[in-house]
Amino acid sequence: MTAQVITITSGKGGVGKTTAVANLANALAMDGKKVVCIDGDIGLRNLDVVMGLENRIVYDIVDVIEGRCKLKQAMIRDKHYPDMYLIPAAQTRDKTAVSPADMIRICKELRAGADFIIIDSPAGIERGFRNAIAPADRVLVVTNPEVSAVRDADRVVGILEAEEKENTALILNRLNPALVKNNDMLSADDVLDLLGIPLIGVVPEDESVIIGSNRGAPVVTDAKSRAGQAFRNIAKRIQGEEAPFMDLDQQTGLWGALQKLTGRK
């Protein structure tokens, strides 16, 4: 076994990086894969709460780097999937406590025992981001169909190009199909046109994402959630399988069912 290292990054904050990491890790674990997540946001730890593991933290990644514990001791086992682990960020330190070489070394040690290592990058393009992309075999850039998020994503893609990270793809998160239909939101085609990198998935805006975070149970575990379905599809594509792109135009709920019944769209 030699794991693939996937870094999730975005430039802009708040576009859904941590949500994407938690969901993709859960989806891969549901498919029977062994997954290790690393929270790369030193000082602003978040992945633990989104994954519902905040009460289990003893050691963090800086403890590993500074030799206070073994790597295994900092790996928190998930509550539902015994083959999924989280290595939390340190909360009371800053990004200078970790170097790109540290990240490469930690991933090297983890590779033999996992299928996927997923790194949650901090926002921005500084040290924390550099740390997060250093060991990456593949980088997924998360953006929203919104001017500031797309602009920042473009900066990040430019840096990845300069760093010769060739396996880069886009996750377009929080797309609102009704707004796109009304020409009041950039469409997936618009964003792809602007950014010029391949698309690995479009995730529709979905309130169940917030409900999932509230509970520390990512939406992929909710069979009915549309965002959950989108993340499950991305996880399939990560594993090299074909997964159809969802018809985001499809109406849901009672109104959608009624419209379908009456043949209107």
């Binding site: 602009r151 473009d154 893609v157 618009d190 046109d193 010029g196």
Partner: protein
């Protein structure tokens, strides 16, 4: 802007982003592009007569690659003498 005549905002967002991304990627400000244009015209004018008002010089994107496209119509030499 009236409700019925409102231009939908997605195309607005796309056009604005197209411009801003060109400048971000090339590290060329609109002012620098303008002075590049002027210098280019000055140089060309040393050799041939051109119509400055008909000149079009723009940075265009294709995927992630940028190119500087110049369309410079030349005046007929017979007219000048």
């Amino acid at each position: 802007m009236g409700f019925f005549t409102r231009k939908h905002s997605a195309s607005n967002a796309k056009e604005r982003l197209q411009l801003v991304l060109v400048h971000d990627r090339t590290d060329l400000t609109p002012a620098q592009l303008k002075s590049l244009k002027n210098d280019l015209l000055k140089t060309i004018s040393k050799y041939i007569e051109i119509d400055p008002d008909a000149v079009q010089i723009e940075v265009e994107s294709e995927g992630r690659a940028q190119r500087l496209i110049a369309d410079i119509p030349l005046r007929n030499a017979t007219r000048s003498k």
